[in-house]
């Protein structure tokens, strides 16, 4: 398959770009909710508009009422989200949780997917334990209890954990902390007893929780897939999420680059537009190259994953690492080239810097994923 958008994808990209620029703009969404100290960190009305656009169920099968599209299409939406810094539950709900739910029973899919597709429900993903993404190690226990399970432990960096109607939780049903096997995924409803959220606002104005499970009792039908067979589902969900967050990161990088290049064409010093200075031109051009390459890596990862290629996992880590490095460069160069105003809250470039920091950390930073690339390459 060629690495450019086909006609349908181009149409989707156009409509997503227009929609996000109009409805998901920094002014209307990020700044609006941030300045009101919104506990969710996003607007529910916008989430319903996502549904009207057909975005919420983009990865959900037709039988389940979704659009049955792939990660190339989800990535198109995510790139626009990134460009506009649009706060939304799209990545966690429509990409991560929706991917996990593909392995869920008829009952689970029937319970959760309609709400997602209508833009009424929000899902969160509880994988990390501790401050770094290390899903190889899962300590949280789910003990057999009657017909069901009892979950005990803590999850961290649960984006929108307190706003979510359901959390996809990775817990250990057998084996020891570092075992690959023995993992089970659970769909935990928001009203589950003995689950408590410590919600904290992050640097990018999103809200994440430290979520405690003090013997959270669940029926057996909360299990996504098979008991002890959750690792593959977890991996698929993480790959989807990494590719998706990389796509959003490309949007962040492009957004930051675009406003910076515009600024270079407006700001005058020493009687010249600062964009005339070769020192800045070369840095901007280097950034452009990196952004193009990062974008290609993401596209390749999306295609491989949509095609069920065994190379998708490697390319997902390549994309995530490359985007993290590139978006980081974009926002740092952006703030520096803006000069003093880059440090002000009034200008948007700083918001890109904050978002990049949080997004880069989510589901593994550049160092984690470069390490995975080394391991998968056998050194």
């Amino acid at each position: 398959m060629p690495l450019y958008h086909d006609d349908d994808q181009t149409m989707l990209a156009d409509s997503a770009a227009q929609f996000m620029a109009e409805q998901g703009s920094i002014e209307k969404q990020l700044r609006h909710w941030r300045d009101r100290d919104c506990p969710d960190g996003f607007g529910h009305a916008l989430w319903e508009q996502f549904a009207e656009m057909g975005f919420t169920g983009i990865l959900v099968s037709e039988e389940d009422g979704g659009m049955a599209m792939g990660h190339v299409e989800a990535g198109i939406v995510l790139e626009e989200i990134g460009r506009n810094l649009t706060p939304s539950p799209f990545l966690t709900s429509s990409v991560l949780a929706a991917t996990a739910l593909k392995s869920g029973s008829d009952d689970l899919r029937g319970r959760y997917l309609p709400g997602l597709i209508e833009g009424k429900s929000v899902f969160a993903v509880a994988v990390d334990e501790g401050s770094k993404h290390r899903p190889e190690r899962i300590a949280m226990r789910a003990e057999k209890s009657g017909n069901g399970f009892k979950l005990s432990g803590q999850k961290d960096f649960v984006i929108q954990g307190a706003s979510a109607d359901m959390l996809v939780v990775a817990a250990r049903t057998s084996g020891s902390d570092d075992d690959a096997d023995g993992i089970t995924l659970f769909a935990v409803p928001k009203d589950a007893a003995n689950m408590s959220h410590d919600a904290v606002r992050l640097v990018d104005s999103s809200v994440a929780t430290h979520t405690k499970f003090d013997g959270v009792e669940l029926d057996g039908d909360a299990v996504i897939g098979e008991v002890d067979g959750g690792r593959d589902i977890l991996n698929a969900m993480l790959t989807a999420g990494r590719i998706g967050s990389a796509a959003e990161g490309v949007g962040v990088a492009r957004g930051a680059m675009d406003i910076t290049v515009e600024y270079l064409k407006q700001r005058k010093q020493f009687g010249k537009l600062i964009g005339e200075f070769q020192a800045l031109q070369h840095r901007a051009s280097h950034l452009y190259s990196e952004v193009e390459i990062a974008r290609a890596a993401v596209f390749k990862a999306q295609q491989l994953f949509d095609g069920d290629s065994e190379k998708a996992d490697l390319m997902a880590s390549v994309a995530k690492a490359k985007v993290a490095k590139t978006a980081g460069l974009a926002v740092r160069e952006g703030v520096q080239m803006h000069g003093g105003v880059g440090m002000t809250d009034e200008y948007d470039i700083g918001l890109y810097m904050k978002r990049d920091r949080a997004l880069g950390e989510f589901l593994g930073d550049a160092y984690y994923h470069a390490g995975r690339v080394a391991e998968m390459s056998g050194y």
């Binding site: 060629p2 690495l3 450019y4 290049v261 270079l264 064409k265 010249k272 537009l273 964009g275 005339e276 200075f277 070769q278 031109q281 070369h282 901007a284 051009s285 280097h286 452009y288 190259s289 990196e290 193009e292 390459i293 990062a294 290609a296 890596a297 596209f299 390749k300 990862a301 490697l314 390319m315 880590s317 390549v318 994309a319 690492a321 490359k322 490095k325 550049a366 160092y367 994923h369 470069a370 390490g371 690339v373 080394a374 390459s377 056998g378 050194y379």
Partner: protein
């Protein structure tokens, strides 16, 4: 089966039957590359057999039209052929600047008779060409070139000096940028074609830091260049005084070629360094990993770029980006390979290193970001043509 799948399976069979095992081994040195030309000899029977088989099929220049010696393959078919050749590590049957550079210029700007005459010679490997662009005083600022062709009616008398002419000492003909109007900087250059055996034309190899001499200085002292080589075969490409258009077009091609040189091979190094796994410093391992991320990402970019070029979706200045990123990446690759190889990689002449390959190759890569337009010039072009930044 689709036509393309059909083509793939036929190609696979044909390669199986016609590409000798010897020609599926990696190129070890210069003599493994067949350049063609008047003085060319085949290294062995396998090289000749492979060349002859490809020639008969039009596969020395597969994408060129049949009437000019090619196989007339559509872009998608040419890609399949490339993939299938790379799958079995088949060497190119013929390498030449005629194929890579003059050919594309003639296909775009040449007269019908010129194409028939020159392209055929190139496809058959009869004439080896070299490129006369840079001059001692005109590197990045190529358009300032001074080599002058004085108009003598039916011919020019050319005087001047070219530098960095690749393999000029082994080439038969040169495509050469010559100033034919001193008053007009951009519209005063003619893209001339002439025989290197012409009287007054001399070459002198330049010894590089890598120890090899792939480049020459070329001196032109009253070289007589006729304006025509026969009916409809002018001795220049495009129009007189409009050679800069041809040169610009070709520079784009050269940048694509240099940037695409590693396009088929994403060029990761970590896996190749596995044999050093125990000795790898953790910080070096980390750098290798970061490099591999960049290399694999660049591999995807190469694929995307070629896909886009085929359907005209690529930005016309995008080859500059590819050239910049690709050459910088290749330099970094060799720096890391030298570090991972340790003291062994310092050996300048030993059997174990095949005559100092690691260090010589490492040094050679330093030219990547200079030849065909420096990285700095690439960044200038990106600034101006893609980012639309104001001129200084």
């Amino acid at each position: 089966m689709s036509d393309l799948e059909q083509f793939r399976s036929e190609t696979r069979e044909w390669l199986e039957a016609n590409c000798p095992a010897e020609m599926r081994k990696p190129v070890r040195d210069e003599s493994d590359i067949y350049w063609g030309g008047r003085r060319a000899t085949f290294k062995n029977d396998a090289q000749k057999a492979w060349f002859d088989a490809c020639l008969a099929k039009g596969y020395t220049v597969p994408a060129w039209p049949k009437e000019y010696g090619g196989a007339g393959l559509a872009p998608a078919e040419a890609k399949v052929l490339r993939q299938e050749m790379s799958r079995i590590n088949a060497r190119p049957p013929l390498s030449s600047f005629g194929i890579w550079m003059l050919g594309p210029a003639l296909l775009h700007f040449g007269t019908e008779e010129q194409k028939k005459h020159f392209l055929g010679e190139i496809a058959r490997g009869e004439i080896r060409w070299c490129q006369g662009y840079s001059e001692p005083g005109s590197g990045s600022d190529l358009v300032s070139l001074q080599t002058f062709g004085e108009d003598k009616g039916d011919h020019w008398v050319v005087n001047g000096q070219k530098v960095w002419t690749s393999y000029a000492d082994q080439a038969d003909w040169i495509f050469c940028l010559v100033r034919t109007d001193k008053e007009n900087k951009y519209q005063g250059i003619t893209f001339m074609l002439f025989d290197m055996e012409s009287e007054g034309c001399a070459t002198k190899p330049i010894k590089l830091i890598s120890g090899s001499s792939p480049f020459c200085e070329t001196f032109m002292d009253d070289v007589k260049v006729p304006k025509s080589y026969g009916e409809g075969i002018p001795a220049y490409v495009g129009e007189i005084n409009r050679g800069w258009d041809v040169a610009k077009y070709l520079l784009g091609h050269e940048r694509e070629m240099i940037s695409g040189a590693d396009g088929g091979n994403t060029g990761t190094i970590g896996a190749a360094m596995k044999r050093h796994a125990g000795e790898l410093d953790p910080v070096l391992r980390a750098e290798l990993a970061m490099f591999d991320v960049d290399a694999l990402a660049y591999g995807a970019m190469g694929e995307k770029f070629l896909d886009e070029v085929k359907v005209g979706k690529a930005h016309p200045a995008q080859p500059n980006m590819m050239k910049y990123a690709g050459t910088e990446l290749n330099k970094r690759r060799h720096e890391l390979m030298m570090s991972a190889g340790g003291s062994r990689s310092l050996e300048w002449e030993s059997e174990e290193t095949n005559g100092g390959k690691p260090s010589r190759n490492w040094l050679r890569t330093k030219a990547n970001s200079i030849e065909g337009g420096t990285s700095e010039v690439m960044l200038n072009v990106i600034s101006k043509r893609i980012l639309d930044l104001p001129g200084s």
